[in-house]
Amino acid sequence: MALLESRTDGPALVEDRFVRLADDAALPAEGAVLVSLVRFEKERAALLARKAPLGVWLASNQTPAAISNELDRLALVALDFPVFSDGRAFSSARLLRERYGYKGELRAIGDVLCEQLPFMLRSGFDTFEMKSPKALEEFRAVVGEVRVVYQPTGDGRATAIDRRLGRR
């Protein structure tokens, strides 16, 4: 599994500093951890008392409203794609960025299809768990393949309307 980060200067393979904890795994004394929403809600105080960065992952049927008041305490929010065709996380991502103002790392996990990367970037994701050994090449091949966007989203890209009206 590779972790890809989209940076202003392009994509990069990065080290995953978070350990994804199963719900029944012991909480380590140190180190960044990624926990489920259920575990976060159950052990909130203990998790927040740790000095290390904390991440929460949401299943595709869990709404980001559940963590909207916790976002400034979180260093990572991960959204799961149980299968690539389950597109609920696209809405969750946009809500996190555009409605709740989340500024931290937003990661796509699960069945991430490389052709979805442009949509994921537009929805606000910035890191991607990729199965393919050629993830970096795939990212470069796919992102930017289509130069025009019609929809305004939180990524701030100039839309066709913006460009027509000379707004940007």
Binding site: R88, S91, E115, F119, R147, Q151, T153, R164
Partner: protein
């Protein structure tokens, strides 16, 4: 009609290049069919019973002569010399070669066409009224709003992996020729108390396995809020729609299970949050798009059409064609001419390359180059001088395109069925062909009058059987094709779902059954009554008795 600007062109061309790379990877064996499947579906390429099928979008059913000639060229060069117009303004080619599909898409891009989002669980080709811009009493040309929706929905980052496919229809008239109440979202243009134009928003209609007539969730939406409101509906649906069962994944089930009132509340709450966002349509952009739909340079014509009147008086066939295929135009001296793609004994909606070329030439000669595709799988020349109808008729007749049966019993909607489709349980086209043969007699056709038969080869209802006056559904019964018959449906402003008559029939019996239903209507009707009016007055029993015998 709309013409691409540099941005629209760039998007479609990029998309072609992208698909070409994907096909190359598939052909080189770098992608398995399983991996390739979601990619080809994003460009309307299906794997059918015998071959690939490419579905091309004809946005809101409008095309010009140049585009029609391109479709003819593709039919000839890349297919078997014909194409099939569907109930959603699309054109399907049933025999393209995989390695040539990128070339077909490149050909399409050269005339501002594409196959984007003609399949997959995304927002599909927006459909509309085939008389848009020509019909009397229209609030505005709905295609302005269709084009705005087309752009907004194209490669939408949030809504490309919805629970299920999503279909939007828009009409600008009271008369509903676009079946808006059986769409995921139906938009009807309305005026508010102050005379401002906007939309009635209807959600959750649909056919398929569980048919529903849509519910109005907002009686009036100001125009500039269209996209934010659509985005609110889609966002609620994307989060709430069922993902555990594809047969319950359409928004009609979401609305039904959530309750229309609660669903409306959720949409309105979401909308309040995004109403004043960047989705609010700038007037300049709406005006820019509207300019593309300004009326053509109509001539000032006399109300009378002496050549046409004289021909009607002496030529019974021409008179029938005018009566059934020609509709009133908003401009004096002009008419709307329908071209039936339902000749006797032929598959509904099919057109040969030669016929497509003829229609293109006639569009140039008679209708400012404009052509429309209807959801009933016919074509329309929207702006014809009324007194040139005889000339147009003769040229249509020479090309085998003068069937005078629009709205009559032989104007059947049928899906491709088991002859082509991998989902079908039964054939649909041969049933339709045999019905047109049975009712070929012109006097009888006239006697029966307005009648819509709709036929689907499986429960997915691509042939809209639920909303046919007579609906025929092909099912599989122990390996045999079997047909259920229902009556009383309507797809118009009085939309209604038909009711099943009783036990089903074999392929051999079904045409006789249709005839018995028709005879029952003729026996019971009051003067001037259409089939659907008689049905609504007398109910199902007399039909049942005639078909099954007295209980």
């Amino acid at each position: 009609m709309y013409h691409y600007d540099e941005y629209d062109h760039a998007l479609v061309q990029d998309r072609v290049a992208q698909f070409r790379r994907q096909v190359e990877r598939r052909l080189a064996g770098e992608l398995t069919e399983d991996q390739f499947r979601p990619l080809r579906l994003m460009n309307g390429l299906y794997l059918q019973l015998h071959a690939y099928m490419l579905r091309i979008a004809i946005p809101y059913g409008t095309l010009d002569a140049r585009q029609m000639r391109k479709l003819a060229y593709i039919a000839r060069r890349y297919d078997k010399g014909y194409g099939h117009f569907t109930t959603r303004h699309n054109m399907q080619f049933n025999w393209p070669k995989l390695e040539e599909t990128p070339d077909i898409l490149a050909e399409l891009a050269s005339v501002e066409m594409h196959a984007i989002q003609t399949s997959g669980n995304c927002i599909r080709n927006v459909t509309s009224d085939q008389y848009a811009g020509a019909a009397e009493g229209e609030i505005e040309d709905p295609r302005i709003w269709c084009e705005i929706i087309r752009q907004w929905s194209t490669l939408h980052p949030e809504f490309s992996f919805l629970p299920r496919k999503f279909k939007i229809a828009v009409t600008g008239s009271e008369a509903d020729r676009a079946a808006v109440k059986v769409h995921d979202i139906g938009l009807i243009m309305r005026r508010d108390g102050a005379g401002q134009a906007g939309f009635e928003v209807i959600v959750g209609g649909g056919l398929g396995r569980t048919p529903f007539i849509g519910k109005t969730i907002r009686p009036f939406l100001p125009k500039e809020d269209l996209l934010s409101y659509l985005e609110a509906i889609l966002r609620v649906y994307n989060q709430l729609g069922r993902r555990d069962n594809k047969f319950k994944a359409r928004i009609k089930v979401t609305v039904h299970e959530t309750g229309a009132e609660e669903f409306t509340r959720l949409v309105e709450a979401e909308w309040l949050q995004i109403k004043d966002s960047a989705l609010k349509l700038p007037k300049q952009e709406v005006d820019r798009i509207a300019r593309h739909f300004e009326p053509p340079a109509f001539r000032v014509l006399s109300k009378t059409a002496p050549a046409t009147e004289a021909r009607i008086a002496r030529d019974r066939d021409f008179a029938a064609w005018v009566r059934h295929n020609v509709a009133a135009h908003k401009v004096s001296g002009y008419a709307i001419a329908n071209i039936s793609l339902k000749p006797i004994g032929k598959p509904p909606g099919d057109a040969t390359a030669e016929q497509m070329d003829v229609v293109a030439d006639l569009a140039d000669a008679f209708s400012f180059g404009e052509i429309r595709v209807t959801h009933a799988q016919n074509l329309v020349l929207p702006h014809v001088e009324r007194d040139r109808l005889p000339e147009l008729y003769d040229r249509l007749a020479a090309a085998g395109l003068a069937a005078s049966n629009i709205g009559l019993i032989s104007d059947i909607i049928a899906c491709p069925g088991l002859d082509y489709c991998s989902l079908a349980n039964a054939r649909s086209i041969p049933i339709a062909e045999r019905i047109t043969e049975r009712f070929a007699d012109r006097d009888r056709l006239e006697l029966i009058g307005e009648m819509q038969i709709k036929s689907s080869g499986c429960i997915n209802a691509c042939g809209h059987h639920h909303v046919g006056h007579i609906g025929i559904l092909g099912v599989d019964r122990k390996g045999e094709e079997h047909y259920q018959v229902q009556i009383g449906g309507s797809a118009s402003e009085d939309a209604a779902l038909g009711r099943i008559l009783g036990r089903g029939f074999s392929a051999d019996e079904v045409v006789d059954v249709v005839e018995k239903i028709v005879d029952t209507y003729l026996a019971h009707r009051n003067a001037g009554e259409t089939f659907i009016e008689t049905y609504r007055r007398i109910g199902q029993d007399p039909f049942k008795e005639r078909v099954y015998g007295a209980a």
